[in-house]
């Protein structure tokens, strides 16, 4: 397992290099001279040349790239043009906000999706199965943006159960340590604030979770149905094992393997979806950070923001791959 893990991590090096190259060129493919755009049409030639130099854009591309890459290795993501501060420092609160939201969303999606899929398969063709699968069908085709607005309208505006937007109660601000507010409030023992944080998380998490939840439920169901027809499930039942363990131990462990692939992919897509959801719920996360950077033409921030998201996506897929190997003993041997 250790050798396999090391092998998989090493195999990520070319992927990450490729990724940095793509992001690097993507930013540079945006038409126009960044210095000119930043300074505006009325800027003097000297000022533009000055800024170009300052940004390092007068250097040949490979020098620029290797400077940038060298910085990445030391954890240096460059400097924001707008705020003049190090991106590696100012990015964290935004990233933490997105991670907290995405984590809650994927946790809901996996918990509800996997269980709904299992029960649907176990009680195939029951009313539960029919209702769950109709909901899943609706869920897959749900526009998150619209769902977010509907949630706000029903649960925040009409019923007034939950806050409309933001991460925290403005009148009761959280003193942040890690910027993951659930952890911060917990370690400070501020359970009143923890409850606030959770209330703020519910609507955006559910909106964000809907599509992956629906997809996970459908895949889990079909995977479980296939596994439950297999010979070893009949063996488990012939031993006298209770159906609950037949389903949650013998079937699920086998059925979860294809579901993991989907979970990995959906977690990646969810990060994309987070940007949309953050807009609807005024969530101060990576979505806002990058969108603000785009409107300010803050190229280093755009570049690093995208790179960080892509890096997380790659890491999630690494985790999924390692989970495969941990679950299926046959993988390591071929």
């Amino acid at each position: 397992m250790l050798a396999y893990t090391i092998r998989r991590i090493l195999s990520l090096i070319p992927v990450l290099l490729g990724l940095s190259l793509i992001v690097f060129f993507m930013i540079r493919a945006i038409p126009g001279d960044p210095a000119q755009i930043i300074l505006g049409q009325l800027a003097t030639k000297e000022a533009v040349a000055e800024l170009t130099k300052q940004l390092g854009l007068d250097q040949p591309w490979f020098v620029q790239y290797f400077t940038y890459l060298g910085g990445l290795f030391t954890g240096d993501l460059g400097e924001s043009i707008k705020t003049k501060s190090a991106i590696s420092e100012e990015i964290w609160p935004y990233l933490a906000a997105t991670l907290e939201l995405s984590f809650c969303a994927i946790a809901i999606a996996i918990f509800v999706g996997v269980n709904a899929g299992i029960i649907s398969a176990w009680y195939q063709n029951s009313w539960f199965d029919y209702i769950a699968m109709v909901l899943a069908l609706i869920g897959v085709s749900m526009p998150i943006f619209w769902l977010g607005l509907m949630e706000q309208w029903v649960f925040a505006i009409n019923l007034d159960w939950l806050p409309t937007s933001g991460r925290e109660e403005v009148r009761n601000p959280i003193s942040s340590i890690t910027n993951i507010y659930m952890i911060d409030t917990l370690i400070q023992g501020r359970f009143d604030q923890l409850w606030d944080v959770i209330k703020h998380l519910i609507l955006p998490s559910v909106a964000l979770a809907t599509i992956p939840m629906a997809i996970i439920a459908r895949i889990t169901r079909s995977s479980m149905l296939e596994v439950m027809r297999s010979d070893y499930i009949r063996t488990a039942r012939a031993k006298g094992l209770r159906m609950f363990w037949v389903v949650y131990k013998h079937s699920l462990k086998n059925a979860i393997i294809p579901v993991l692939t989907v979970i990995g992919l959906q977690t990646g897509l969810l990060l994309g979806g987070a940007i949309l959801t953050e807009t609807v719920f005024s969530w101060p996360g990576m979505g806002r950070y990058i969108v603000d950077a785009i409107s300010a033409r803050d190229y280093p921030v755009i570049q690093s923001g995208i790179l960080v998201i892509a890096f997380i996506f790659v890491m999630i897929n690494l985790i999924v791959d390692l989970l495969y190997a941990a679950i299926d003993p046959r993988i390591k041997y071929n």
Binding site: N125, R234, A238, K239, G240, L241, H250, N254, I327
Partner: protein
């Protein structure tokens, strides 16, 4: 005579679909005595597996259902009992092994875990005792390096070894009855012989009754004492192994035997009787074998033959009008 361990009476198991009821097992009766090995033979699709799954009450439901009849295990009728009671019986009083040793073990759990699980469901004890018992079972079925195998996964074992593991697992709680559904069909000839010899010796050592399901008359000759021949969901002949080979009565049984030139040559499969097994439920009047029978006559097409007792032998019955001597019909 001793009371039988298993007594199946007029069992009928059907599958229900949009086309209606398909009786896969139609009104079959047989019994197994203590320590006896009973063979059930018949071509593919004749209802052998459905019979064995009915006894375990593991017929997939829906679409399947035991429609009528009794399954008496030491006098207790299993048909109406609760799922809870069945769980106590499965693995503990009746165990089962299957055709495909390659897929009958869960690929994601170690052999040891799967064996210990089988014991833990029914027996009290601690981890150490379970482990010891599991290792002992692996030794009993003749597996070398039993301790090592405990920590291996199914894909690391050969087909023959996996079937030995299956047998170890099935016998781990000391069941009174073992149902073996074509346990050697998927194995090559030498391994087949080893597994059969193992089952025979365990049958003698532990006094476990065995229902041996097979379509190979060679297997029957090797280890069974009595045999029932099934055709299209019905028992067509029942006799001792000696009588079946020496004195077959049903045209279908004779066909089966003719297509085995040498019963010791186990590589040969049986089927050279012209025609195919009819789909269950497709024949509603007359003898189900009529379409393939060389002795077919008018009566066969009009009526369904009952089981007739064959006079000279002990317990030998046959479902064929050729053996109607007047008054020997069982009408069941």
């Amino acid at each position: 005579m001793q009371a039988p361990v298993l007594d199946v009476k007029k069992l009928k198991t059907s599958f229900f679909s949009d086309d209606g009821e398909i009786p896969a097992v139609d009104d079959i009766s047989f019994s197994v005595k203590k320590g006896e090995i009973l063979g059930i033979v018949g071509e593919s699709g004749c209802g052998k597996s459905v019979t064995s799954l009915s006894i375990m009450k593991l017929v997939p439901q829906p679409p399947g259902k035991i429609v009528s009849g009794e399954i008496l295990l030491n006098g207790e009728n299993l048909v109406p009992v609760s799922e809870r009671r069945m769980r106590q019986i499965r693995g503990n009083e009746i165990a089962m092994i299957f055709q495909e040793p390659m897929t009958s073990l869960n690929p994601l759990f170690k052999i040891g875990e799967q064996l210990i699980e089988a014991i833990k469901i029914h027996k009290k004890g601690n981890k150490k005792e379970f482990e010891k018992q599991a290792v002992d079972m692996l030794k009993l079925v003749g597996l070398p390096r039993a301790e090592g195998i405990m920590n291996e996964y199914p894909h690391q074992l050969s087909g023959g070894m996996r079937q030995r593991v299956m047998i170890a697992m099935a016998l781990s709680c000391g069941p009174k009855l073992l149902i073996a559904d074509e346990p050697t069909t998927a194995l090559d000839v030498t391994i087949q012989a080893q597994i059969l010899a193992l089952m025979k010796s365990l049958n003698e050592k532990l006094d476990t009754s065995i229902v041996m399901i097979t379509h190979d008359l060679g297997v029957v000759a090797d280890i069974c004492q009595r045999v029932i021949v099934m055709y299209a969901g019905k028992v067509v002949e029942e006799a001792s192994v000696l009588d079946i080979f020496k004195n077959p009565k049903h045209p279908y049984t004779m066909g089966l035997l003719q297509s085995v030139p040498d019963i010791r040559n186990k590589q040969d499969r049986l089927y050279s009787i012209p025609g195919n097994v009819p789909k269950p439920g497709s024949i509603t009047t007359g003898c189900r074998f009529a379409a393939r029978c060389e002795f077919v006559h008018d009566r066969c097409l009009a009526d369904d033959p009952p089981l007739y007792a064959v006079e000279e032998a002990g317990h030998h019955t046959v479902r064929c009008f050729l053996h109607d001597t007047g008054g020997n019909g069982h009408h069941d």
